[in-house]
Structures are given as structure tokens and as C-alpha cells.
Symmetry: C3
Subunit: 432 residues, 3 copies
């Protein structure tokens, strides 16, 4: 783990940044191709028109160029400078219009006059341009030429999938959305962290299987769920990765279940990180946890973020750029994910083999030789006693860490020591 630096993730984000992504099309394909440089991703193509629950896979959208020219033929808005300039999924257009005719197709952010907004129109065939409010205010009566060289045709929806098989078929689902164009935190950060987490977990022994999905938002999650309904029961834990590169505090949004193991593990890890953090109750607005937590699935899937999306003004604007994310935050997010997975892996239940009274730790060298001093030496002695006291087959190591108010890692270490000394035995059943 320690060798994966934030710099590598940051460089990966920088490489992905220029690509114009959408929920379908070549931008997603190019992105997944780059993910493949780190992990052996399978890329799936699902044809336009495929029904997925209440939805239908849309036509595939691609774009090569777009601009607005003034009467002097100057490009005053140019897709080549920034792909946010075009409303994502705009239909092709080439025509001349007056300013009055143009205005309904323009989107700006008056509160942040230098930023270009990000807008989409996936399921409503129209076209539009996004520009800074500064640019907008300079427009005057003129004849404008608008041109969008895009295509909206039968094609495919593309997503990436990577299954890291573990000792069991029980799965941890980790997903990120890959449909946003040049926006760094939302969600090149999620793509980068998911990729590097997958690579790191691939180098470890794993009790769980880990399924990584790189999905177009909403329709991608629905498409995967629709074609994998029979196997969703394998998913025992999961989280969505989104907005994990900004400099804000760590946040975790609970699953709809609210008290699932994944919810408790994130709460434990974040609460003991020593840094500011936030635990947010589930709500049905947000990222793809909306789909995984829909009532027909109700999967134990939360969402891991840094600053929640509705709290930073740079969200869905050109200000979510390469200066908005930083290597250190990315590394911190990745380390947290890895720690969460470690807790999931190690969260087993044990049975004390000397349940009646305490075992004699002294004769095993696990207790100080001269008695009478107040509490046990350091926290370790007390953790040993907690593990012995609660290992009755009913308490997982996380239960013990929560009740003893100590770090899972310390409980896990104490457990290993006690197993080594023949004082504990792992229970066969899987932990809740």
C-alpha cells in the first residue's frame, strides 16, 4: 500500500482530464483504455435500445467539434478549449441566429462569473452551450453561427468491470461513475482511487471477492443491475467512490439500511482517523448508491466522498479542475478505502477456548511479572482482556472494537496474539 503515492493518481487524473466523456461514446472507451494500463479491466458494450428496468439504453453520443462564431467569424466559444462548453448530449446543429434566438441555448453561473457550468441533456433531445458569465455579458446584438459536430446514433453504452476473485464468492462492490467530461474531483478522483485500490487489493490475500465497476452514472448502474440481478445477493458490502480528491474532510454517506457492516466499518475508521470527518444519513439523492439502495435491491452500499457535492461551489463547473484536487487528499482517500477493506477482511468472530474465568496470561508471558501497579501496561493489556471477554461467538472484532472504544487494528493484533497462544479459535460462520 505505502508505495502507491498520491502523485501517481494525480498524474493519472491529469492524463484523463482532457477527454470528453459522456454516458456513452468514445470518451468512456478512451478512459477505460487508460484504466487498463493498471488493472485488467473487462469492457462491456450494451446496445442502444436495450431495456433496463424502467429505462432504455440511449443512443450513443459522440462529438468532434463545436463553436459559436460571431459575425466577424471569430470563435467566441470553442469546444476545443474546454469540452464543458457544449451541453453534454447536444444534438448536431449548424445555423445562424440572432442573440435573442441564441440566448435560450446558453447556460452560465452568474454567482461565479469566470466559471463555465457543466450541463447535460441525456434524455431530452436539444442542444446548448455553457460559457462563463463574463463571456455571456460581452455578447451583443449580432448574427451568430453555432456549430455542434456531434452524432446521436444507435451504438452502445460502455462500462468497465474487474472482478478480483477471493477465497469466497461473497463480494465487496466498489463503483465509480465515468461519465463526466473535464471535471477532476467529480469524478476522475473516484476513477483514480478505484483503479489504484483494485491494483493494491490484487496484491493481497483476500477472503472476499472485490467487484469494481466503472459505470456511466445512473444508466450504467441500472444496466449492470438489470443484467446481473441473479447475483446481487453475493454483494455483502459496497461503496460508491465519488469526489475523493478535494482538500476537504472525509465523508461517508450511509446505505439505506443504515446499520449495515459497511456503515459501521466506515464510521469506525473515520472516527478513529484523528481528522475531521462526517457521517451522513442516507438520502435518495446523490450518486449511484441511489440505484443500489433502491427498494428492490436495498444493498448495503454507501458512498465515500470528501466534501459532499452540494457543499462546494466548484461542483459541476470548470473550477473542478486540476488545481481543485491534490495528491495528498487522493492518497488519504485511497488509504482510507484500503483500511476499510482490511477491516472487512479481518472482521471475524472468535470463541475463547478458556471462557470460564480469565486464562492465566502471566504464564504465557502476556502479563507483567510484578503485580500491583494500576492498569495493565499500555493499552495492549486491556485490549487482550476485552478480546478474551467478548469472544463468545456472538461478537465480531468490530463489535469488540466499538465496545472497547479502541482501534480495530489493535483488536485484530490482540486477536492474532491470542490465537497464536491457543486462547482463541475462529468461528466458522461468517460475520454479520
Amino acid at each position: 500500500m505505502s508505495r502507491i503515492s498520491g502523485d501517481e493518481m494525480y498524474a493519472f487524473i491529469a492524463a484523463l482530464y482532457p477527454i470528453c466523456r459522456s454516458i456513452t461514446g468514445n470518451g468512456v472507451r478512451a478512459t477505460l483504455e487508460q484504466v487498463k494500463q493498471y488493472i485488467p479491466l473487462s469492457v462491456h458494450e450494451v446496445p442502444s435500445g436495450t431495456p433496463v428496468f424502467d429505462w432504455t439504453v440511449p443512443k450513443e453520443w459522440n462529438i468532434t467539434d463545436a463553436y459559436i462564431k460571431n459575425a466577424d467569424g471569430e470563435k467566441i466559444v470553442d469546444f476545443q478549449h474546454c469540452n464543458l462548453h457544449v451541453v453534454n448530449y447536444s444534438v448536431p446543429v449548424k445555423q445562424k441566429l440572432s442573440l435573442a434566438e441564441l440566448k435560450p441555448h446558453l447556460f452560465t453561473i452568474p454567482q461565479h462569473p469566470q466559471w463555465i457550468p457543466y450541463r447535460t441533456s441525456y434524455y431530452n433531445e436539444t442542444w446548448g452551450f455553457c460559457l462563463s458569465h463574463q463571456q455571456f455579458l460581452q455578447l451583443h446584438e449580432d448574427e451568430y453561427e453555432v456549430c455542434i459536430e456531434s452524432s446521436l446514433t444507435n451504438g452502445n453504452l460502455t462500462y468497465g468491470e474487474y472482478l478480483l476473485q477471493g477465497e469466497t464468492d461473497e463480494e465487496v462492490l466498489i463503483t465509480c461513475h465515468v461519465c463526466h467530461p473535464s471535471l477532476c474531483n467529480d469524478n476522475l478522483s473516484g476513477i483514480a482511487v478505484a483503479t489504484m485500490l483494485a491494483r493494491a487489493l490484487g496484491q493481497q490475500q483476500r477472503r472476499y471477492s472485490y467487484r469494481f465497476l466503472f459505470l456511466p452514472g445512473t444508466i450504467g448502474a441500472l444496466t449492470w443491475l438489470a443484467s446481473h440481478e441473479a447475483q446481487v445477493d453475493r454483494i455483502k458490502h459496497g461503496f460508491v467512490l465519488a469526489g475523493v480528491g478535494d482538500k476537504g474532510h472525509l465523508s461517508y454517506k450511509r446505505s439505506r439500511q443504515g446499520t449495515a457492516a459497511i456503515d459501521r466499518v466506515f464510521a469506525h475508521v473515520l472516527s478513529r482517523s484523528g481528522n475531521a470527518y462526517e457521517i451522513i444519513d442516507f438520502s435518495p439523492y446523490g450518486y449511484d448508491e441511489r440505484q443500489f439502495c433502491s427498494p428492490g435491491f436495498n444493498l448495503p452500499v454507501g458512498c465515500f466522498m470528501r466534501t459532499p457535492f452540494d457543499r462546494y461551489p466548484e461542483y459541476h463547473t470548470s473550477a473542478d479542475n486540476l488545481t481543485f484536487v491534490d495528491p495528498q487528499s487522493l492518497a488519504d482517500s485511497l488509504a482510507t478505502c484500503f483500511q476499510v477493506c482490511s477491516v472487512l477482511e479481518d472482521n471475524l468472530t472468535y470463541m475463547s477456548l478458556n471462557p470460564k474465568g480469565e486464562p492465566q496470561l502471566g504464564k504465557r508471558g502476556l502479563y507483567r511479572p510484578i503485580g500491583g501497579t494500576p492498569p495493565p501496561d499500555g493499552v495492549d493489556g486491556l485490549v487482550l482482556l476485552w478480546v478474551l471477554n467478548l469472544s463468545d461467538g456472538q461478537h465480531s472484532l468490530l463489535d469488540i472494537a466499538e465496545r472497547a472504544k479502541c482501534n480495530f487494528a489493535d483488536v485484530n493484533e490482540a486477536t492474532k496474539l491470542l490465537v497464536k497462544h491457543g486462547l482463541l479459535q475462529q468461528c466458522e460462520e461468517r460475520v454479520r
Copy 2:
């Protein structure tokens, strides 16, 4: 609802104010006769001596006149001026006494020297007078003549009942006590609000049946329960109305069950009213909820008040008069009751017909066309998502409103919209 004004209730209270009521007798009959001007009340008469559980219906009490004269023949205390002057249920008396002999029969409130207290002696045959402490201090050694022209004879206990049949036989029980003489808040306010609520509900479609009882306190509730034991299981919700005309904040005292639907509904409605309010735990002292919540019945019946009776000094004194209640407070109390009944009526459980993933709201015009802006437009979009997410047949609309932290009315409106679009179906079973 909006056409029922506080003025009408206030005028009704003013008309009822002069009547000398008690737990039996013509005062109750005259009161119920006036209620009949608004709703078709049935009036029931239960003979003295009828056993009701541990109690017996007492003799009927009536009174025509009472006074204390001084030796000069001046009436210094006169029932005709204020019916509180006589201890309610005083036996007839006509005799001359010294001041020393008279004093044990006199009741005053030294802390409020201008107010006349209200006292009763229903089950202990005696007589007495209540007077202001000012009057009391002016008494000097003299020969006094006391006269109470009352009768205490075998007769009847009288109560009023009005059943508004709904689509089902499941009942909401709404009661008020009608036994207090000239006291406005306690409980002409309850009588007025109950009457107007009954009239208003009568003009609505109703899922529930509503049973209104106008009862002499304690013995009236016991008498009704004793003669209707076989049907109390129909009562699914209920509340007692008492002290709902003063200018203080709204209060609701929970049923003995504590988490009954009626308890949750009042808590929801009061907490979202925007005004100060109070939720009070059940205790076995108070109004007739004491009987409905006795362990042998344990009905889900709370008590709706404004200022709790033990918090205002005017309680059970002549200061609880027509200036102590006001039309606006009465209207607010009535509107709250009506709103509570509306929530009870609409608190059903639904099942999403597209439980796997979110349904596509956009194609139904239920979602904004241009995506990418932060949260859904207004609160409505989020409420739609909450209703869809929690409509799994396990959550009532109140459950959803509580979890989504929004108004029941908004949840109900969103539900109707989703039903109209074929996205939700009502579950057959009745909601808890």
C-alpha cells in the same frame, strides 16, 4: 375547514358559559341540547345506581339557588352571580350559623384574593361555598344564614355521543368532558372544538369512523367504557380535548403506549407547525385519558391541550372566564385537530411498481430537463425520490415523512402524483 372561524366557537362558548353543569343533572342536558344545534348528537341517560366497574353511577344533582346572608339579610355570596360559589354536588341546606361554624364550609384562594375557586364533592355528601379571599376577609362575627336549594336524588347520568360512520368500522375516538360549570377553557373550549371538528369531518370522505363523546369527567368515561367493552377494539386512535382555548402553546400528552400512531401523528404535526409546542409523556393524572389508558384497556388515546392544566393559575377558578380564551387560539386548536385527522386518514402504505433502480422520472415530466444542477428543483423532487425509495410496503407515509424530515402533506402530495403516474400502488393492509 377554512370557513369554520374561531368567532363561531367563541360565541358557542359564550352561550354555554352561564349554565351550571355537574357530572349529572340538567346542566349537562342543556349543554348537549346546544351541541345538537351543530351536530345530530344522541343523548344517553344512565340511571343512578348502575354499577360501572369499581364505581356506581351517583345520584343526580340539580340546583336552583344558593346564598349566604348576613344578619342584615344581605346576600353576601350569591349563586345567581356565579355558579362557582357553591361546592358542586352540595347537599341541600338551610340553617343559621356563627362565623366559626360557617368557616369549615368556605373555600378561597389566598394567593389570588379576587378569584373564586371551583370545588366539588361528588362522592362525599357535604356542602360548601367558594368565594374570593377578599370577600372572605370581610366576614366578621355575625349570624349567617346559608341556603342551598339543591336536590340529590335517584335520576340519571347524561352523556352525548355522535358516530360519524366511515368506510371502515375502525374508529378514531374523540372525547371531551362536559361536567364543569362556568369555566371557559376547562372545558367549554374542548366542547366547542369537538363540536366543530365533528361537523367538519362530517362533510368529508372518511376512511375511519369517528366517535365523539361528550362525557361527564371520570364517571362518564367509565360509564361509556363499561357499556361498550365489546367494541373498544375498534378504537385505533383517539384523543381527549381539554383546555384548547387559552393563548398558550399547543401541547400533546402521549398515550400510555407512548409510540402509538396517534402519538407519532401529533408529534409530527406539532413539530412542523412552526410554533412553540410541547410533547408530554403519559402520566396517570389528567383528564379521561386516565380511563382510556387504564391497564385493562390501554387504548391509543392521548390528550390534546394548549397550556397544561397544572401550569396556569386560572385553572379551576373564576378567572377561567371569557377573557381567558380567544377565537384565534380556538381556531388554531381546531385546525390542528383537523390536520391530525387528515394525517390519520392518509397514512397509508404504498409499494413502488418500479422498485429496482429509480424509475425514469424525466420521461414522465417529473424531473428537470437540463441536468447537472445541484439538488433537485425545490423540495418536491427530493420528496418524490424519498417516497419512491421507501415505498416497499414496510413504510407508511408517516414513516417516510419522519425519515425524510419533511411535512406529511408534501409526502402525501408526492404520493398522489406518483400514483397518478402509475409508479406506486397502495398496499391493502391497514397501516400501523
Copy 3:
């Protein structure tokens, strides 16, 4: 109860103070012999080498003398002055050493330079001396003679037991440790309070049987448990008595179960004492509750203390002497234990014989004759109503006291009054 004064317990402590106790040996025997002056204790001897779960009863340790002499032949450390000077369970030694050779065998408390620490080495055969840091600093290069006249031989572990048979075989277990030498609060205070509590309970009628154990810490508890496994199911409640003589506030450490009746009873009694108190969650470090609450037993046994042992610096030092405990604190601790036992005894469940509506209290003289005054007269009237309302066979008197937020004693008194009037009947089943 009132006749047992703190002075008697203080004098008892003073008599026990000089004895050099350990986990085995004549000090324990002498101590139990003194307890016998108050209660007819049975004394049990368990041979060295007896296996008890993961442990073995150790050799018996006795000591007659010990000292350190300097080269001038002066005793600079002398067991006859204070038995804490010898590390408890030191093996016999007689030899001459340099200061450098001596130092590893010396223990002091630098933060409290005048106090002698208490140290033990039960399961690691070694020897040592404890002295004040002041004494230690005066040591200089010299030839020292150390002498410990102790014996560590096959013998017995000794403990005392006293069963007060009650009407039923269900037991309340009350234990204290008897293994510490001249330390007053820890735990001559526990021995004194346990002894006087046993004597007092012996003079009462008892529903429960009370088992008092005077045990060497840890190994004594394990030894008793190992030889009484078949009967531990009888133990329905219990507490360990330790450190109950200091001037600090009362503390109760919950059992591992956390919500056992004993935990609720102590919380009730302490919270209503009117004095500062503390309720501490269970943790697996402390006194013999560690053994009783080990996962294989998980008995409802808490620990009653005054200042918790890890909060006073005098703990396990010579400063825990006769000035550290006082008669008043001892009397307060004893009275609290007695009150807890009274609540356990009286915590039954009753059934109202008039569950439908309230019974008519007035005709039984249990209610004021003139009605209309605000709440019932005094708290008693309300307590009567609470007991009647909650006596449905599902609520114990403690449940009622907790919900009514009043003293158990008031609830109990109201219950007796209602039973006397034929309004309540005790349920046959035993209360949780």
C-alpha cells in the same frame, strides 16, 4: 440497620490492618477468624496444585520477618514496621549485595516520595522490597544484607463463605477480596461492609438467599467458580465490594450484561441518593467481576466502589491507611448496599384487580374528599395512580419507579397500601 454504625466497621478495619495477608497463608486465616466474630463463616481450604480452569492453586506463602541492613548492621527497611516493605510472595532470601545488585529488587513511587508501594509476584518466583522514594534516595554505595524469612510450600488456599438461606434458592452473590496486606480502603473496607451487611441481612426476612464470599483476588474467585460450576445458575444478582471506605462519591460498575436487574437497581438507588455518584460501564479490568463476568459465566455481577481504584493516588500504597477511610463513608456504603438488597427483595410484579378504568380511591379513603384542586395531594397520590396504571403483570416495581421517576421506596409503600385495600395482587412469576 440504623444501629450498625460506621464506628464499628472502622474499629474492625483497625483490628485487621496490621495483618500481613496474601492470596494464601495465615494472614487470610487470621482475617477470616476475625470475621467469624460477627457472622458464622465457613472456612474452606483448597490444596496447592489443585487445577482451577486455566490456573493452578499456588503454593502457600507465609512470612515471619524481612529486612535490609546496611553495612553498619542497621535495619534500614523493616517488615516489622510495615508489611508492604516486602514484595508479596517473595521467596526466602538471605544474602549480601552491593547497591547495584540490590537496586533491581527495589520498588518506589518517585511521584509520592513518602509512600511505600504495594507490589506482588504471585506467579513468578522472585523477591523484592518496597520502600519510600525518600529512603531509596538515601541509599549509597555499601554492602547490604537482605533477609526475607518466608516460606513457599505446598499448603492451601483459604477462603470464607457464608450462605444466608432465604425463602427461595435464588441467590444474591456478594464478594470481597481478602488478599491485600495493610491497605485499608482496598480492601479492609470491603471486608468490613460485607461482614456487617451479612449480619444485618441475617436479621431480616429474605426472599433471596445471600451468598457472601471472602476470597483471595482472582485465584480465589476462580477456585470458587471451578468448584461450584453446577450451581452458578442460582445466582440472579451480585456485586463485588471493593474500596468502599474512602471519602469520595459512590460508584457502580455495571456487569458485562449491562442491563441486568442489579445494574438497574444500583443505578436507581445511586441516582436518587441526592449525592454525587458515578455509573461506569463494564470493562474487563478491575476486581473479581472480571471472573464472574467472563464469557463462560456472564453472571449479573457488578462492582460497588466509592472512588474508582484508578482515580486515587493512594491506591496500592502505604497512604491507603487508617486515615484514608472514615466511619461515615463506611456507613454510607453499607446503607447503600442494604438499600440495594431491599429493592431486590421487593422488586416484584403485581396485577391490578380493577384494571378497567381507575378504581374508586375515594371510597377507600385514598383520595382527598374535596375535589378540584390541581394535582393529587403530595406525591403519594400520584404514585398510587402510577402503581395502579402499570400493574398489568408486565411491569416490576422497579419498572414503575423508573417510568414514574420516583423512589422505589415510595412505589413499594404505595403497593403495600393498594394490596391492603384489595386493589393489587402479586404475580406468581419471578421478576426479571
